[in-house]
Subunit: 207 residues, 2 copies
DNA sequence: TAGATTGTTAATCGATTAACAATC
DNA sequence: TAGATTGTTAATCGATTAACAATC
């Protein structure tokens, strides 16, 4: 979860935002854009966008701006999503099921290749392109398929134990939907999605 | 989405993290904690925790630390989650369905009171405690139930139009699961959940 | 050429951390 | 009392913004 060399985490965190906006622009037929236009769309200053990009090279042309498809491809390369990452989903409840069915992963660099659960009633059922597997086979599957990324959709009580198993087997990035903070080694990256936390962040401002 | 008076957004954003950890500590039987202990758990410095809390008052005791239940209740009050907020879910696909079924909302200050979709095949079906309603009734429902918060689980193409309708009807906080940046007035708060963006933020660091 | 926009530097702004007096 | 931990101040650190020369 560290980033010892050069580029600040907060900059890396904005690249996917730029990538998403550029993808949308391309779909809408824009071939050229500018830091100003992109910033307006995203509510980010044009200076910040130029500064962020300058960490990685020069992608624009004075007087003109950026070629949308070129910048898009450069960002994909930087973020390493110019390939397809295999992922496992652990937990086949409502949320795991939604993740297994989600169509949006493939176009953006990811694919669910395995879904796991402990519940014998769920094991063997079909979820999208996957048949739910027993969690006993988790480590073997991860090793055999070179999986580095997992999405964790198990109850809070089980999350730490599952994370430990994922990490031992070779997973290095975890998207954690369980509402707890995981304890992980420094070389493992964790992102948290807890809808309640996002909601609580907004209720503060409601009158 | 602005916070003109005093307290930085980034501080508000950490309060739900503290709240969640304290809830867990209470469940585990801890009655007292310290900024040091809390910081260790969360990977945050003790100084930052004390500084953050100092924006809102004095909640601890020198030499002793914090009474877990007391700090918990204070944070709930500050975040205004010492009550129950009614919410609507728009979109009854896999994700909307998972949100409608999610059991974790009520204990933390929220309740799904309405689920909406355009699809006649989905309207009338039961999702957890709710029967899916036709989106035609969205505005009336929001007004009649005083709903201020919505979760948006519709396709990207539909998201902006639905957001506009929600806002006109009185919604002031939107948890947006659609993978686009919404254009909204300054008095409307938006939080974004896009699993792919979280994943892309991690692939940068994978070797 | 005139207008526009980049990439970069320097200045500003804000957030985090270190340190410590107060005090339980 | 001795030890511990708070709340707060001042110092440090880092991120954002403003401004502009370079140049398409």
């Amino acid at each position: 979860m560290a980033s010892p060399p050069g580029i600040p985490d907060i900059v890396i965190g904005r690249l996917p935002i730029y990538l998403r906006a550029l993808t949308q622009m391309l779909q809408q037929g824009h071939t050229i854009t500018s830091s100003h236009e992109l910033g307006q769309r995203l509510g980010i200053s044009s200076a910040q966008i130029r500064k962020d990009l300058s960490h990685f090279g020069e992608f624009g042309k004075q007087g003109t701006g950026y070629q949308v498809d070129h910048l898009l491809n450069q960002l994909k390369g930087i973020l390493q999503v110019d390939r397809e990452w295999p992922m496992v989903v652990v937990g086949a409840g409502d949320l795991g099921r939604a993740l297994a069915h989600y169509r949006g992963f493939v176009a953006r660099g990811f694919r669910v290749v395995g879904v796991f659960d402990t519940d014998p009633a769920k094991v063997g059922t079909v979820q999208g392109e996957n048949t739910v597997r027993d969690i006993d086979g988790l480590e073997d599957f991860i090793r055999q398929n070179g999986v580095r990324i997992a999405m964790l959709a198990v109850p809070a009580e089980a999350a730490q134990a599952v994370a430990d198993r994922l990490i031992v087997a070779g997973v290095r990035a975890i998207l954690n939907y369980a509402p707890i903070t995981l304890a992980t080694p420094a070389n493992v990256h964790v992102q948290y999605i807890d809808p309640v936390m996002h909601l609580q962040r907004m209720t503060y401002y409601l009158d």
